[in-house]
């Protein structure tokens, strides 16, 4: 929203937090509702995608990454990237055992 202003103040207003909270609660309701339906292999993917969206909102807004210096976003990106690389390698290994 008013990115330049919040950059200076290094803060969010009350409103955006309440909006994000409502989004998080809605996503939780969706993930519970969807869990009852069997999409086969897509079920776990759906659950993880929703969890990832929720984490993204918490990181960006609640944890202030959006208004934080760029180096913080780079650090988090690299940390998550290596986490994903590890799990991909792990599953590649197990799939061929």
């Amino acid at each position: 929203m008013d990115d330049s202003k919040s950059h200076v103040e290094h803060s969010h207003g009350y409103g955006i937090y309440i909006l994000v909270w409502m989004a998080l609660m809605t996503l939780t309701a969706i993930t519970v509702a969807v869990a009852g339906i069997n999409f086969g292999a897509l079920t776990i993917t759906t659950a993880l995608v929703i969890a990832a969206i929720k984490s993204y909102l918490v990181l960006q807004i609640f944890m202030h990454l959006r208004i934080e210096q760029k180096v913080f976003r780079i650090f988090v990106f690299v940390a998550v990237l290596f986490f994903v690389i590890t799990i991909v390698l792990l599953f590649t290994d197990y799939s061929f055992m």
Binding site: Y14, W21, L24, T28, L48, F62, M63
Partner: protein, 206 residues
């Protein structure tokens, strides 16, 4: 007191460094829980049916309720920082207090959840659990270790926020110097993110 204030005016402060320090610590937390998430995913991959059967025994309603509690506690934590930034000390204290209350509510739910399982003999080494398939034993082993370690983080977080309340009340955390509250908040939100993943992985396996 005045000499202390004088000294404090010359103390070097690096808020960005403080927050970076907390983020680096959070990355080590990510490794701590990450290792267990790796273990979980491989065991689930090798025992899909057993994990499905075992997960059915967890109470989805309590899990969803606890998710709502933790998400709301993250909201109150974030609001407490905005309140102190707007120099509203009592509102900030109120939000910090709400955060601690919600953390306690989460732990009370966990207590009832775990005692109900213990009562049915489902705990590591429990007779009922040992009579089941190895996959189910693995599931509950991971369930107790991961939600247990997460619960420990919730308790530590609540204690840290209690200390922050004292700092706020004593005027150590102020409108111009609130980095302690911010870093406590970062820790609290990480605990929330871990639960965001624990909830669907343990309670919502179809």
């Amino acid at each position: 007191m005045s000499s202390q204030e004088h000294a404090a005016a010359h103390v070097h402060r690096d808020d960005v460094g403080s927050r970076m320090g907390m983020w680096l610590f959070l990355f080590t937390e990510m490794l701590l829980f990450g290792g267990m998430f790796f273990l979980y995913s491989i065991y689930r991959y090798m025992n899909p049916e057993a994990f499905h059967v075992a997960a059915k025994e967890l109470n989805t309603l309590i899990g969803a309720f606890n998710t709502a509690i933790l998400l709301t506690s993250s909201l109150t934590m974030a609001l407490s920082i905005t309140a102190i930034q707007k120099n509203n000390k009592s509102l900030s204290l109120f939000f910090q207090f709400l955060t601690i209350l919600l953390a306690l509510g989460f732990m009370v739910n966990k207590y009832f959840e775990w005692t109900a399982k213990f009562h049915h003999g489902i705990y590591p080494g429990g007779e009922e659990l040992l009579s089941r398939s190895p996959g189910e034993v693995l599931f509950f082993g991971l369930y107790y270790v991961m939600t247990g370690l997460h619960g420990l983080h919730v308790v530590i977080g609540a204690v840290i926020i209690a200390v922050m309340m004292r700092f706020t009340a004593k005027g150590i955390i102020t409108q111009t110097n609130y980095v302690k509250l911010e870093t406590a908040g970062l820790y609290w939100h990480l605990v929330d993110i871990i639960w965001i993943f624990l909830f669907p992985l343990f309670y919502l396996i179809t």
